[in-house]
Each structure stands twice: as C-alpha cells, then as structure tokens.
Amino acid sequence: MRVMPKVAVLGQRDAVLGFKASGAVAFPADNPKEVREHLNAILQGDYAILLVTEEIAEIFEKDLEPLYDMPKPVVTILPDARKPRGVGMELLRRRVERAVGADILFKGEE
C-alpha cells in the first residue's frame, strides 16, 4: 500500500494537543531546541502540510522561509489560541502586495 503524506502540527503543547486526536500528527515543542529537532523530523518525514502556530512562525521566520518554495510540506500558519495576531493574514497581505504592487486586499480597512 502506498503511504500517503500526512498533516503535521508544530507548536506549544497546549496548542497542538487538540489536533492530536483529530487526524494530525502533533509535534509538541516547548523550547527552541525542540522546535528545531521536530522541524528536521518533519522535513524528513512524509508530510504534505505543516501547521505552525503564530508564535513559532514569528520566532522561526528565517527557518521557515525556504520552505515556502518547496513542494512539500506546505507551511500554513495557525492563528494563536488565545488572541490571534494575524501573522498568517500579514503573510497573505505581503504576497498580494508583491504580486499586484499594491495592497488591494485590506485597503481602507485599517
């Protein structure tokens, strides 16, 4: 049988536990070292999607940057559990701005 790629979740323990029982592979990480180790494991494993919490996405922006151009895994930023800071939205906005040359998405909404 062909092994299918899966979904990985990387984040603080509280944030990823909920996903664990609902169809994703959880990688709880509470310190930077663990994040790096998990990241390597994820890159070597067969994962189609990597979900990262906002906090980690911000701290490890440099490490995640090259992943955006790789076919797998697709990195998606999860909104934070307590108060979303819109890191994912910001990334989207930046991409739109780069493509269109202007911020058409959130224009006149701030």
Binding site: K6, S22, T76, A99
Partner: protein, 219 residues
Amino acid sequence: MRIKANATRQELARLKARIRMAQRGHRLLKDKRDQLMREFMSIVHESRQLRQELEERLNAAYRSFSLARAVLSPSVLEEALMVPGGAEEISVSYRNIMNVVVPEMEIQGREDEQADDTGDDTAGMLPSYGLATTSSDLDDAISKFQGILPLLVRLSHIERTIHLLADEIEKTRRRVNALEHVLIPELEQAVKSVEMRLEEIERSNISRLMKIKEIVRAH
C-alpha cells in the same frame, strides 16, 4: 544603455524585426500577466474568507479544549490523547495554471463521511479514547478540531497557490515592464538614429551627385 547599430539597410531591417519580436513577446506576456492576475484575485478573496472562518472556528475549538482540560485531570487527558486518532492521509495532486504548477490537496477517504454536512460529531471519526473517564467537553473539542482539519487542508493549498502565483506574476510583470519601458524604446531609438543616418548619407550622396553633374556640365 544604447543599442549600437551600424547605419546600413541590413541593420535597419534587423532592428525592425527585433522590434516586431519584442512587441509580440510583450503582448503575450501581458496576456499571461492579466490571466494570472484574474486567477490570483479569485483565490485571494477565497483565502481571506477561509482564514477568517478558520480563526473563528479554531478559537471555539481551543475554548472547548481548555474547558475539557479544566474538568479533566492532566493525567487523564494525557492518557486519552496518547493514542493518535488515526492520522488523516492527504492526497496531493497538481494543477497547471498558466504554466505554474500548483498543488491541490484533499483528505483521503473522508468524502462519504462528510457527505451529510450537518456538523455534528456523529459523522466524524470514533474517538480513540475511553468515554468513561473523559468528559463530553473533550468529545466536543475533538470533534471541533476534526471539523477544522479539512478547512486547514484547503487553506494550505490555496495559500501555497497564492504564493506561487505571486512569484510568477511578479516575474511576468518585470518582464512586461522591461520590454515595454526598456527594450522596445531603445530599439525604436536605434531605428530612428539609423534611419536618420541613412537619410543623411542619402542627402550627401545627392548633393555630391549634383555637384559632380555641375562640374561635368561646366566642361
């Protein structure tokens, strides 16, 4: 940078052919850019809506989950979540938009269960933990997380598509601009200067002939 060209008819013809070629490329690239833009716009709005929906639903899921955590003792919770609830498998296929290959992903084998989109947890997977020791808050939280996963998968491939398209649009736009504002004007400038030089040569030729004629007639 100016294009160097000898003032000959052959060179002139070659320059004009280059202009035609550049204009054709410019037109094609412009069409490509416009089409990419159309695709881009349609998915950008979708992605934004998805993200907003995700934020709301994830918030609700986290709330249920912290409720469950408050009720259950940490050890029971840890035990309940020890066994992963059967990791979902994702099927990845690829689609070609204007020569940009974008991924499309889907959760495998969930279609039939998702058929009735009532949103209650009976349609989801069976929990992988004992019901006796855990509270219904946990079931609630888990089923919410399960409902979010397909959303996340969709959002993931849409965001990747946006990223890839944004790259391609930027590249295409640069090329269009380079042709429109640099190469084509330079070529036109070169054609103009060669034409002027050729005319100048023509004129000096004529005046020379007239002069010679005069000299010949005087004899």
